[in-house]
Symmetry: C2
Subunit: 161 residues, 2 copies
DNA sequence: TTTACTGCAAATATTTTGCAATATC
DNA sequence: GATATTGCAAAATATTTGCAGTAAA
């Protein structure tokens, strides 16, 4: 968990990871930073397979075990988060406490669009939950994207597969 | 996808599934209803393994393939949703459009608590997202539960594993 | 009666584990 | 130099697929 100091300043991730590793007495291996960077630099949510192969494609040699290990560690550290979108594949995405974004997930085609938090949400938390210390939140809005919404209109009923 | 009529009335799930199957020209098999019931009646989010074994424990014979098939179908139908909590296991939970609830996820011990939406959130959507037809949303608040929050206070730094 | 769906078993894919080699501290 | 961490290969799990048999409609 990042401390409150770290959160309010929102240090670069590499530093946040470094700090976490120091506090925990863990080692700063290149693999850990490379995987972190990869997740933070990818525009979409990535699954383990894609992450692994795209690292190799970048010329960075890692083993699958290390990828799995590191994902666990980064979650522990509060730097990434896993997400299920409904297709059974677990994906991972960065956590940012400032510049928060939300997700519009199309329940029909599965497309995910990110939108800036400020564009959508007003005063979200009106009451702090009792006996719970909130750190960040994640909002997923499910519905139909414009394309699928149009399709739905045309072919009502009997949409044989 | 449930139609708008269905949503506003919030019919019993069994009926909503029945309707979906009719509209799609699919069959009303006992397995589909049994799996639906199981998910809707379980207090926590369930993973595939637990779902499968607990159905057998109830004396209901299903195959794993059917469980997987059905989960996909129920997601398609907009009756359940998959969730990733950070431990790599994909879980499933019911979707309710009325009586909405949110999730307090402890980033330390992983405990998930459900809270009534109205207890936490004020006017959430201030603007409808452009070219997107929202159907329901899912809010996860990550942070520390009271137990873990207390622990954290005591043992700052050097929490060797 | 037709054929969508189930269950089974086998094929894939995904994740975990044990251990020797390596690199961080 | 001590040992946490990596990579590899093998083991354990989880998921998908093909197909014959079953049961909804």
């Amino acid at each position: 968990m990042p401390t409150n100091d770290e959160k309010s300043k929102e240090l670069p991730v590499r530093l946040r990871l470094a700090r976490y590793l120091e506090n925990q007495g863990k080692r700063k291996t290149p693999e850990r930073f490379a995987i972190l960077e990869k997740i933070y630099s990818s525009s979409t949510h990535v699954d383990v397979g894609t992450l692994y192969t795209s690292m190799l494609a970048d010329g960075f040699r890692v083993s699958r075990s290390t990828v799995y290990n590191t994902l666990g560690l980064l979650i522990e550290a509060g730097l990434i988060r896993s997400v299920a979108l409904g297709d059974g594949i677990t994906r991972y995405e960065r956590i940012t406490t400032v510049n928060n974004h939300h997700h519009l997930v199309c329940t029909h085609c599965g497309k995910v669009k990110e939108v800036k938090a400020t564009e959508l949400v007003g005063d979200m938390l009106v009451k702090k939950p009792r006996s719970f210390e909130p750190s960040y939140y994640s909002l997923y809005i499910y519905g139909l994207c414009s394309r699928c919404s149009r399709k739905e209109h045309n072919s009502k009923k009997k949409t044989k597969k």
